[in-house]
Each structure stands twice: as structure tokens, then as C-alpha cells.
């Protein structure tokens, strides 16, 4: 920063699924920024009226029933995602989402198409203008929060939205981490804290150690597709069922009815936070009118599986942090959905303690972001924030297996260098596929990108040595660089991002990782067995050429090697057949005293470990 310029204002922004807001750090602590009416929460809603200006925030929300197909809410669930897994969501949305280029979702209003980033940018522009007005100066720089479990593409998309809104995003900070800053800044809460953050569309849990201004995340877990919206949907489904019962058949619902159902469900959910039962008469326009009575018990029975999923995440995070429940000193609840009594009960049961009540679940994230903004503005060096990468990062290796490079919960920034070479003479490019996730096979992980190394100097196969460095920066975003070791030149890299895999697939793979651990193991064993057997065939052939064995032994080994080779050439060969052939071959070579062969076999055995 140049010394003659005044330190610029940097605000913290909580860009939420349901509401957004900004805050600023002051010498007396952080405070939220309010609009002229004294409101801090800005609904993350954008309305495109047929005539007139685009509305954002409360004005947009007010028009939602009147202009249901022109009013966009919960855009955060679409940001940085592929279109494939959004079908379930889109069926429930009053507005239209189409698949655009590269299968990415686009919001459609009349003949206009908007990317989720553009809609998010509208919300950010509104937050920016409220902040600028509250501070009486132009706000151009911000720290923006995202769910800790957001992946690379979602983080990138959020940065793009900021760019579109004319904001320089100095840092992406994880929401639970930001909340912990607000909670722990005064130093009176040093210790180990569990932050449970259940918002409108996303869930995170992070475990942090706070000590003398150092906020260190030990582990994080979450679900970028689980939040209050899903609680609403449980009630909405009941309304729809009631309607179908009344009409005696499936009803085609128009945008107005969908919007009315969504709003009614939300309202009933909120009533049930205080009351044991709630009733609402719902006018669905052309679809008629229904009245839904629902008790809290009924509601809780519906959302129980969702809440249970969050509890599983908490348990995993505690385990990943190498802690037990008794090590947790405090529990902090963040996000509007933590007002649901069942959520509080469940978290209390698993942590065996009452959550803190002195943290405002709606404001904590923005306040924490403002504190981090102050650090980045260069005016505060007392805070040190050490966050982690939420999902493991790996490369595709032989047979569609993911070899992990960086393990989940590694402190960021972090980097790993891997060496690559060529397979044919004068090969000038190498493809590298990068995956994020915990599963063993590429098809179960999210493909982050395909990177192509280009400009490799012409050399015989295997001779070039290209060192590729994968770095996760402080925003949790991947950077890749490459160097040819022999020439020392930076190899030109073309980065091809792919959003082919979707967030629900990430979620699915986390869920399934437990369920399918055994399948995974079997699949991995299959690949490993084949790789091992192939190495054995090659090794034995080489050893035979060098060894001087009696002809009968050479013949039997050759025969068995050939049999095994044939089995490997056939993709349909059973694992048992391959294993038997491997065993037979190794017992034969094992009997032979010649150490040339046994050392080759031994090598093939130890290379796998």
C-alpha cells in the first residue's frame, strides 16, 4: 500500500442465501451498516419488473407474489454449480432456470438470460450502496464470506460476482470462521469452539482453537445444499399434498402458486419456532385455497433426517480435529435456521452443553468479516486467521483412481509439487485432471479442472521432468504452475476449468463415502490387483530375459506369465481368476532360487505400498 494514501475503507460482507449485509470495523469494535430505515438485513432477492428499474432487497421481496416468475431468490444455491443436479431445485422455483453454455444454469426473464453470478452481483451492488450511504463514502473493497464447504468453482464464482458488482474482493473468508472472529475477538473466549452455521441454503460446522488473537481452524465439515430452504420445502410438500388431495389429482402449479406456497411454508416454519402448532389459510390464486394446520411435532418429524445430517457432520469434524466432545469449550450458533428448536436440541445433545446465546446468529458472520477486512486494510496486525481446505484434492491416476495430493483440513495456503513426464517420443502436451472429494474413484469425486501442460520440449518418452505445483491460496482457491526441470523454463499452461461435477455430487460422495466404503475398497483392490499383476508380468519377462534358468522352468514361467497377460488384456476377467494366476506365478517364481526373479517380484509387491 502506498504510504501517502489514506487507509481505504474495507467492509465485510455476508452474502447469504436469504439475507445479505455489510459491517465495518471501528476502534470500538465492529458494527453492522444499516439503511435509512435502520434495517441491516438486505433480502438476497432481485426483481425484474416488466417496466422500470430492477429492484433488489426488501422492494424486490415485496413484489415476489405479484411478479413470481420475475423475482429471483436463493441464487446462492446456483452459484458456481453445474446444471445437472439442479433439476430437483428448479422444479420448485417460481422463476425459470435454463441450461446455458457448458451446461451451466442461467436465469431467464423474458428473452434475457442471467448467470447466477450476475444476480449475485445485483445483491452485492445493493449491499455496496447501503454501505456507501451509511459511511458517506464510496465503498469499493470488501471481504466476502462463503460457506466453508464451498468448493473451488463456487469460490471463484463469488469472486466473479464481486467483480461484476464493482467490488474488489480482498479475501474470501469462510462463514463459520468469520463468526468465530466476532465471538472471540475480545480475548475473553480463548479456547476450543465449535461453530454450527445453518443458513438458508448451506450448512457448515467448523472447530477452531482461539488463543491470543490466533484463530486456527482445526477441522471443517458441511453440506452446501442443506439449509432453511429445505426445511421450508418439507412444509411446502405438505401444502402441495393437501392441494392434490383436495383436487383429487396432481396439480400443475403456476409461478404464483409456487411462490405463495414457499412464502407460506416459511411463515409456518417461523411460527413453529415459538408455538406448538400453527395454522394458515393459503390463497393459491387459480389453484384455489387450502388451509394447513401443522404441529411442531409433525414438522420436527419431517426435518429430523436433515438435522441428523448436520449432526453427522459435527461428529466428523470433531473426529477430524482429533478431539472428543469434552474438548469443546463453547458452541456458537450462526445462521437464521439455528432458531429452529429441534436444531438447538440436537446440537445440545451431541455437544452435551448449551450453546452460547450472546452471539447474534444473523449478524455474527458480517461482523467477523469486517474484523478480517481491517486486517487486510493493513491497520490491524493482532489477528491471525489460519483456515483449512474443506475437501481433499487429488489427481487422476491409472484406472480412474484418485491419488490424493492435499488432504482435507490442511491449513491454507498449502502446496504440493508433483513430477510429470511424457509417454511417447516428442510428446508436447500432458493432460492433468484434478478432482476434489474424499472418494477413491474419479467418478465419485468432483472434477475441478483439466489442466493441459503445453510447450514440452521434444524429447524421448519419459525424459522430460515437469514439476507441477498445486497451491491452495488463502481464499481456498487452486492455483497451478509448472516448470520443466531440465530447461528450467516455465511451461506454458492452459487451464481448462470444468464444472462438470456438481455440488450435490460432492454432498452425495461425502454421504456415500461411508455407505460405499466397502464397494470403494473392492473397486480399488481390483485396480490395484490389475496394476500389480501387470507389473509382475512385465517384471517377470524382464527378469527371464536376464536370468539363466533351466529350460523347463523357463517354459512354465513363460506359460503362466502369458496366461496372466491374457487375463489382464480382457476387461471382463474376474478378480479371482487374476488373483489365482498371480498366486500361481508368484509361488512358482518364489520356489526358484534365482534372486533376479524374486527381487523383481518383490519390487512389484513393495511398489504398491
Amino acid at each position: 500500500m502506498s504510504s501517502d494514501s489514506e487507509p481505504q475503507t474495507v467492509v465485510g460482507i455476508d452474502l447469504g442465501t436469504t439475507n445479505s449485509l455489510a459491517a465495518i470495523a471501528t476502534p470500538n469494535g465492529a458494527r453492522v451498516l444499516r439503511d435509512r430505515d435502520g434495517e441491516a438485513l438486505i433480502p438476497s432477492v432481485v426483481c425484474f419488473p416488466e417496466d422500470g428499474d430492477v429492484l433488489v432487497g426488501r422492494d424486490a421481496r415485496a413484489r415476489a407474489l405479484e411478479l413470481p416468475s420475475r423475482t429471483i431468490h436463493s441464487i446462492k444455491r446456483l452459484v458456481g454449480r453445474g446444471g445437472d443436479d439442479l433439476d430437483a431445485d428448479m422444479a420448485q422455483l417460481p422463476y425459470r432456470v435454463k441450461m446455458g453454455d457448458r451446461g451451466l444454469p442461467r436465469v431467464r426473464i423474458d428473452d434475457e438470460e442471467y448467470s447466477p453470478e450476475e444476480i449475485s452481483a445485483r445483491v452485492l451492488e445493493k449491499v455496496k450502496s447501503v454501505a456507501s450511504e451509511a459511511l458517506s463514502r464510496d465503498v469499493t473493497r470488501a471481504v466476502i464470506t462463503v460457506p466453508a464447504y464451498f468448493d473451488d468453482a463456487q469460490r471463484q464464482a463469488t469472486k466473479h460476482a464481486a467483480e461484476i458488482a464493482g467490488l474488489e474482493c480482498l479475501r474470501i473468508v469462510n462463514e463459520p470462521t468469520a463468526a468465530s472472529l466476532a465471538y472471540g475477538i475480545d480475548g475473553s473466549n480463548d479456547g476450543t469452539v465449535l461453530v454450527y452455521d445453518l443458513g438458508g441454503g448451506t450448512f457448515d460446522v467448523s472447530i477452531l482453537k482461539i488463543h491470543e488473537g490466533v484463530f486456527r481452524v482445526l477441522a471443517t465439515a458441511g453440506d452446501t445444499h442443506l439449509g432453511g430452504d429445505d426445511f421450508d420445502r418439507c412444509i411446502a410438500d405438505k401444502i402441495t399434498a393437501l392441494l392434490e388431495e383436495k383436487a383429487d389429482g396432481v396439480q400443475e402449479l403456476d409461478a404464483y402458486a409456487l411462490q405463495a406456497i414457499r412464502r407460506s411454508a416459511e411463515s409456518l416454519k417461523m411460527q413453529l419456532s415459538d408455538a406448538d402448532a400453527a395454522t394458515l389459510a393459503i390463497d393459491l390464486g387459480d389453484a384455489g385455497e387450502v388451509e394447513l394446520s401443522i404441529t411442531r411435532d409433525e414438522f420436527e418429524a419431517e426435518i429430523l433426517p436433515l438435522v441428523e445430517r448436520t449432526i453427522q457432520c459435527c461428529k466428523r469434524a470433531i473426529k477430524d480435529a482429533e478431539l472428543t466432545v469434552t474438548d469443546i469449550d463453547d458452541v456458537v450458533l450462526v445462521g437464521g435456521s439455528t432458531r429452529v428448536p429441534l436444531v438447538r436440541k440436537a446440537i445440545e445433545a451431541v455437544t452435551k452443553q448449551a450453546p452460547r446465546t450472546d452471539v447474534d446468529p444473523d449478524l455474527a458472520v458480517a461482523l467477523g468479516a469486517a474484523l478480517q477486512a481491517q486486517v487486510l486494510a493493513g491497520t490491524d496486525k493482532s489477528l491471525l486467521l489460519l483456515d483449512v481446505i474443506p475437501l481433499s484434492l487429488g489427481l487422476e491416476t491409472m484406472g480412474g483412481v484418485v491419488s490424493k495430493l492435499i488432504l482435507r483440513n490442511a491449513t491454507i495456503p498449502t502446496s504440493v509439487t508433483e513430477e510429470f513426464s511424457t509417454q511417447v517420443e516428442n510428446q508436447s502436451a500432458v493432460d492433468i485432471n484434478i478432482y476434489q472429494g474424499e472418494r477413491e474413484k474419479t467418478e465419485d469425486c468432483r472434477k475441478l479442472g483439466a489442466f493441459k501442460l503445453r510447450g514440452i520440449p521434444p524429447m524421448p518418452a519419459g525424459l522430460p521432468r515437469i514439476a507441477v505445483t498445486f497451491t491452495i491460496d488463502a481464499d481456498g482457491v487452486l492455483r497451478v504452475s509448472a516448470k520443466e526441470q531440465r530447461t528450467g523454463e516455465e511451461a506454458g499452461i492452459q487451464v481448462v476449468p470444468s464444472f462438470g461435477l456438481t455440488e450435490s455430487e460432492v454432498k452425495r460422495m461425502m454421504d456415500e463415502s461411508i455407505e460405499h466404503a466397502f464397494e470403494d475398497m473392492a473397486a480399488r483392490e481390483g485396480v490395484e490387483l490389475r496394476n500389480k499383476a501387470r507389473a509382475m508380468v512385465d517384471g517377470t519377462k524382464k527378469a527371464l530375459a536376464m536370468a539363466d534358468l533351466p529350460p523347463d522352468q523357463t517354459y512354465s514361467i513363460k506359460k503362466l506369465t502369458k496366461t496372466l497377460g491374457k487375463l489382464l488384456d480382457d476387461d471382463g476377467s474376474s478378480m479371482d481368476d487374476i488373483r489365482n494366476a498371480v498366486d500361481e506365478l508368484s509361488s512358482l517364481t518364489g520356489q526358484i532360487a534365482d534372486d533376479v526373479i524374486s527381487s523383481a517380484v518383490r519390487k512389484s509387491l513393495t511398489d504398491e505400498s
Binding site: 487486510l376 495456503p413 498449502t414 491452495i472 461411508i514
Partner: protein
């Protein structure tokens, strides 16, 4: 591989004081973390990210006694980990039997098996530590390679569904 001890400015040794390690780590984090470089040039920031990543990665490596042992062994005898990779077939046979025992164990047999393997793992760490203290890098490397099978067995026994 970057020298984790050099990155953190510590002498290569098995018996690191955890408090000293953490203090050093936090000092260097404050020095290099990219949060304290906003407004600087892209090159400076990239350099800070690199340094900061080295510090994080070194700390993670040295906090784990097994990784720490590997690093000390490499300092004592460069290349020893790679050289000692091939283990005798007799040992591999035993290791395979252990893996089978873990995979086929009944729930009742689990606690006893756990205690047995845990004792083996602890014994390995003690022998590795001693070898390193006596500057026998290659010996420690062999033990490290062997211990991997026991550590994996213990992990598989505790957590069959986790990897």
C-alpha cells in the same frame, strides 16, 4: 521436498518441544501470511503464499512423529527412505497375515488385537527414535517402512469405513 526443519529454523531432531514448534510456527505465520500483504504487488503476494504454504506444510509434517522421523532420517542419510523401500519377503508375508487377521477379526477379538498392534506400533516408534538418536538413518528408514504396515493395520481396525 523442502526441508521442514530448515523452513521452521529448527535443528533436525526427533524430540522436538511441541510448545517451541508451535511458537515458531505462529511467529513465521505472522511474518509470511498473505493477509498481511494486501496492497503489495502480485509477485510479492505470490511469494508470500509460497512461503506461507511452506510454513504450514512444514508444521504439519513435523507435528506428526512418523513424518518427523522420515525427515530426520533423510537429513542423517539422504536418499535412505528410497533405498530401503524393498522389504524382505518374510516380513511381507507376516504383514499380509496381519492384514488378513485385521480384516477377518470378530468384534470380540477387536480390543485384544488393537492392544497388540498398538504395542507393536509404539515399539516401532521407540526403536526408530533410538536409531535416529544414534544417527543410524538407514536403520530408522527400514523400521519406518516396516511400521507402515502396522500403522495401516491399526487404522483399518479402528476405522474400516474411513480412508
Amino acid at each position: 521436498m523442502t526441508d521442514a526443519f530448515a523452513v521452521l529454523g529448527l535443528d533436525p531432531a526427533m524430540n522436538l518441544c511441541p510448545v517451541e514448534l508451535e511458537t515458531r510456527y505462529l511467529e513465521l505465520s505472522r511474518e509470511f501470511h498473505p493477509d498481511f500483504a494486501s496492497g503489495e504487488s502480485a509477485d510479492t503476494q505470490a511469494e508470500r503464499i509460497r512461503r506461507s504454504a511452506d510454513v504450514n506444510d512444514a508444521y504439519r509434517a513435523l507435528r506428526n512423529p512418523w513424518v518427523r522421523a522420515e525427515r530426520v532420517a533423510e537429513v542423517l542419510d539422504p536418499g535412505c527412505m528410497e533405498r530401503t523401500k524393498a522389504l524382505p519377503p518374510m516380513f511381507l508375508m507376516e504383514a499380509m497375515e496381519l492384514a488378513e487377521e485385521v480384516a477377518g477379526r470378530s468384534d470380540d477379538a477387536r480390543p485384544a488385537l488393537h492392544a497388540k498392534i498398538e504395542a507393536d506400533v509404539n515399539d516401532y516408534l521407540a526403536r526408530i527414535t533410538q536409531a535416529l538418536e544414534e544417527s543410524r538413518g538407514a536403520d530408522a528408514a527400514v523400521l519406518l517402512h516396516e511400521s507402515r504396515y502396522f500403522r495401516k493395520a491399526l487404522h483399518d481396525l479402528d476405522d474400516p469405513e474411513d480412508f
